[in-house]
Amino acid sequence: MMQPSDIPSLPRGVRLHHDRVRGSWVLLAPERAVMLDATAHAILSRVDGQRSFGEITAELAEAYDAPPEAIAGDAAGFLGALRDRRFLELA
């Protein structure tokens, strides 16, 4: 489970890309292209290897005027799935 103090980052070979043909954001990784919805992009665009998971969810809660616990639950599920696929690292 993700802790508020964890600092997520995208490892080398995993990057955000704006897909101009489909008009959406996509996470490019080895052998995979993960299409991102607005929520997923909002989370990943804040993953910079500097901000902690707690900081990211606090920012999102404020930006989307949503309860921090709900945001943290959703974000942890999404980032945890990326981590299992080795598309995300935690420090």
Binding site: R12, V21, R22, P30, E31, A33, R86
Partner: protein, 370 residues
Amino acid sequence: MTVARPPIAMLAELTHRCPLSCPYCSNPVDMALKDSELSTDAWKDVFVQAADIGVLQLHLSGGEPATRRDLEELVAAAREAGLYTNLITSGIGLTERRLEALDRAGLDHIQLSLQGTTPEMADEIGGYRGGYDRKMQVAAWIGKIGFPLTLNAVLHRRNLHQLPRALEMAVEMGARRIEVATVQFHGWALQNRDALMPTREQAEEATRIVTEARTRLKGTLVIDYVPADYHSDYPKRCMGGWGSTGLNVAPDGQVLPCHAAQSIPHLRFDTVGDRPLAEIWQHSDAFNAYRGTDWMPEPCASCERKTVDFGGCRCQAMALAGDPSATDPVCVKSPHHVDLQARAAAHAAAEAPLVYRGQPGRTVVEPVGE
């Protein structure tokens, strides 16, 4: 006619030349000659066109792509076009200096093939003495530079017992991912079924090992698995559906729906340079031949799995049933299924020397005995 959605991936077979001669090579038996290969500029133009029609992932393959001296320049051009660049290589032909140049060019990811986990096995299967040691040196350079790495282990009757060690090696090399691919019988592999067909017991053991390892190595190593499909009951979802997600450009610029499509005699392929890639993707007869589900005969047409596996592999239907629009004989619903299972068992029980992949126009057979 429905409009095809944009493709996600393109396999660029830069050359059919290769220092190895693996007996299961997926290149066509009739290979493109060096003189017919697309030029550097022609490939660069293909990359720009591919990005323009929606391709996100570019797989640079061959043959051995490092055989092309312009590989570094091609990677830089692909990145410039906005593509994610994956190099599929045996490692032979790569030096530390070339890898550093590929790093500067922006190469995103490397997929390194593994013919065996010992020098004896790997060099026998690859038909190249010293290849294993060279590959281990390349793997060390890849790790030193920090490229994300996928190990691609191709398994068959002769080396399936090495699967546990292959998984260990992937972890030791720092690979994030391993492809455990049981040989698919296309191209050169079709001639090697008596030598390479795994037994049903081997295929089941491989599935068991992969299932256990996926749990044990969760978060450390991602395992993609291609099972032995002659021993399966449902066919593979070949290419994610014909003409739906990917395309393949052969060394001479022919645009194919899959790397084995040239084994289907009635198909005619367009060539880059003669026609824009966007038009080829949408309108080429070869892409439309088996796109979607309208082409399907029974039992596929009324099958609830028809959009799960799209009737399986067209090239396999051609090779095994003599009809590229037939249900893949791997499927339990195919009238050829029972016969295929018997043939698979017979291939698995047979003994035969390896027929090595040749260079264009040349075939080499393994010496029998010592």
